[in-house]
Assembly symmetry: C2
Homo-oligomer: 488 residues x 2
């Protein structure tokens, strides 16, 4: 098929035609989790956003190498590159080996991404596993004159870099502003300027995550790992780099600077950033009491939650907004999403039982093209979902005998279900409300058959007993001219 | 509780009392998979064997740090350290980045271990993520005079080492024999002796997995990763090192030599080795056509398999043999294991419905002690299972009204179920044959209730119809004086 994909490039601040470096192939790097805590909503949104990009690029025929890293070292406690390594701090508090914490939370992250139907990336490299590659970049930056050493630590010389290349090309900031807006913090005296950032940090004696280097026993600066692993697995310049908007500055800005300083090449052609989430209009934060983990969402076990929300409800809710817009979580909004999701899945579930007749009033080619147009327009999932609801209306009308559907229309809708609902949006065709194994279906068939026979025998007391008992267990049965359907 | 655990130490070739280095803590390292192919039976046995060790040590109160590595580099194609790196070879064949293959098969390995109820280890380090640590050991071995360089590769000098420390301490081999039994292979001329092994290999030009080092662009020898990661996460000497018997020589023997040469310390106090598996009496091998992956076992999709075998059947079958004995897989043996497993789970499932009366004839304290004795005797799971079947007999007799069971006995059996079946053996309390959500149970209750009422109304045609329809769907119902029970 013709590829008309356009995407918003944070670097140019406009939508651009997507053209990969290598025909038929896409290299994509996305900043993954820092694994020192339980996965929460802040992980769900980029996970799902770039899962959609991954799925759609593959759907339209690209072979995608998708790299999403695990940050298990070097993520300092504040953006000023100062303070303890977050993981090492937790490890000491819990008296654990840091890698034990890393493993525990990495496993949890995988389990929850899996529940959200987020596909695993092609490669999931660990920062701690790429220390050599990070050292090699520092060597190159040194050789090119953009790094300086101070007491065993190595810093990136932003001012010098900025004389040749604009530091701020991605974020639109400039270093004069940065200087004006920065106040000096204790312990930063090693740095020549406050906006310089660490490439290598000498480890304090109590710091337990450390490697030997020519500069000191220490650990790499946070920004470096993505430059190293992106280049290693995707090349010095690759197609797409994604992440949350909060990473745009200083993290991604510094990645660009590091790569330019090392290789004189822009590392990335298309920068994509998902917007943030809020909870009842507020930023999520531990101090605000509105920090909700994914486990809490899935179990409903949090003071702010009125009920449990299934992984598919969370996924659908996130997809109902465009990835560049904010998303506000509230019980009301989630309940609405849950209902809409159920309506969508149920209608498409009725499709197979429809007896084809004359063609009804929905242009299938137009619908399918509209779905692609939505996705090709910077992955506009809310528009895609709106088109799917046009199909919902049509299917329900046909199933209720209010309109007719041709065999071609039925086939076209079955293909749309497979392509857009399952493959591209990554939604389950079974809602959490309609689960149940084949055993259950078999036994329900028998029970409904018995009820029908009892009615034929005019044993209404017994047939009503069946209906009432089912109702008491949450199973509703509905008699139609085609037989009896049921739902839990 | 008093700890009377004894385990067979491959190093001393006898059972020894287990005494950890640090009170209350155990460090355990187990050789994990080389991730260049789909998980098969050869992965299931060590996975389950050391899962039992991990579970039991925790059950008796130890805090266990369990490290199981992922070999993603440096596993050469034959034990003579010669030939292409297995992973890199596959990568070139499939035109993939090696780490893409590593990621794919690592994900598969995790999924299948999870299906087998094998707990994730505390830390799962990758060989490729610990190149620096491996280089540091080579430096130490060089300093101590047990390594030599040849054309960018570094080899371990077995002969020199053997003058001071016995090379063969674990395997019982001696180097004169080794020399007599080795024929010269092409390309081994770099090595002074055929039994020398690589610590670092210079990469051939086409070799894509490589790192810079002071010796050459290359990659570490296979034996080195376990020495490096064991020492890093567990210390230079730790408690237990496990793996399959096939790894005892040369892999584990060489690990000992490396650690002694680097640190003058024995790396491990207790070496444990699980025995091998055979299929219909033959070694499993791709050329023999009897190479069966776990997926093939779980789906039954292999010419040699008469049916699918559930993960719990495989697990139970492996646990029915002691880990130091061989296990022969055949359809007959697996079907037998499946039935025994079902009998076990079903009997313990009947326990909760038994109405306590007078004490019956089974000494609970003795039973519980016997279960512990079995596990304390080198993790003797077949003996443990035999004791559990004593309980099965008693529970079934009590449930069938042929004997009585006191409240204390019932509680004791419920505790045995929780401790030994669930926590220690890691078995599911639901067999694959009795699956079905609560929805199914609810609907079956209604259907059986309707049948009872129909019989009261003397509508035998309809009550028989229910029984026959259920039977056609594989559900058998059984009328007893306490009501009607059913099974699928």
């Amino acid at each position: 098929m013709e590829n008309k994909l356009r995407l918003f490039n944070s670097l140019s601040r406009k939508k651009e035609d997507f053209k990969p470096l290598t025909d038929g192939h896409v290299g994509m790097y996305v900043c993954g989790p820092t694994v020192y805590g339980d996965p929460h909503l802040g992980h769900a949104r980029p996970g799902i956003t770039f899962d959609i990009v991954f799925r759609y690029l593959q759907h339209i025929g690209y072979k995608v190498r998708y790299v999403r890293n695990i940050t298990d070292v070097g993520h300092l406690e504040n953006d000023a590159d100062h303070g303890e390594d977050k993981i090492a701090k937790k490890a000491r508090l819990e008296e654990l080996e840091p890698m034990e914490i890393v493993q525990y939370y990495t496993n949890r992250y995988h389990a929850f991404m899996n529940a959200l139907n987020v596909l695993p990336p092609s490669i999931e490299p660990h920062a701690s596993g790429h220390i050599i590659e990070q050292m090699e970049i520092i060597d190159k930056i040194f050789e090119n004159g953009y790094a300086y050493e101070a007491d065993g630590s190595v810093y990136f010389d932003v001012e010098k870099y900025n004389k040749k290349h604009p530091y701020g090309i991605l974020s639109g900031r400039n270093i004069e502003e940065m200087l004006a807006n920065t106040r000096e913090l204790d312990g930063q005296d090693e740095k020549r300027k406050p906006y310089d950032f660490a490439l290598w940090k000498k480890a304090a004696p109590e710091h337990i995550m450390r490697w030997k280097s020519k500069w000191s026993d220490g650990f790499p600066g946070w920004h470096l790992e993505c430059s190293a692993m992106g280049a290693k697995y995707l090349g010095e310049t690759f197609d797409i780099h994604g992440g949350g908007m909060d990473l745009l500055f200083p993290h991604h800005e510094s990645e660009i600077a590091q790569s330019m300083a090392a290789n004189e090449k822009m590392p990335v052609n298309y920068w994509m950033h998902n917007n943030m989430i809020t909870i009842n209009g507020q930023k999520m934060g531990k101090s605000l009491g509105n920090f909700i983990t994914l486990e809490e969402f899935f179990t409903g076990n949090h003071d702010m939650l009125e009920q449990a929300y299934s992984p598919m409800t969370i996924r659908f809710f996130i997809l109902q907004a465009h990835y560049r817009g904010t998303v506000d979580f509230s019980n009301e909004a989630l309940q609405g999403a849950g209902k809409a999701y159920e309506r969508l899945i149920k209608a498409f579930g009725r499709l197979d039982d429809i007896n084809p007749a004359e063609a009804g009033d929905l242009d299938m080619e137009k619908l399918r093209n509209s779905c692609y147009d939505a996705m090709n327009d910077d992955f506009n999932t809310p528009i895609l979902i709106a088109h799917l609801f046009d199909a919902v209306k049509f299917i329900n009308a046909a199933a209720d005998g209010k309109t007719t559907m041709s065999d071609e229309q039925k086939n076209a809708l079955q293909n749309i279900r497979k392509d857009f609902i399952v493959d591209i949006l990554g939604l389950d065709l079974e809602t959490s409300e309609t689960v149940g194994g084949s055993g259950l279906n078999d036994v329900m068939d028998i029970l409904l058959d018995v009820r029908k026979k009892l009615k034929e025998e005019k044993n209404y007391a017994m047939s009503d007993f069946i209906r009432d008992e089912l109702s008491a267990k949450g199973v509703t049965i509905k008699d139609t001219k085609d037989g009896t359907s049921w739902e839990m």
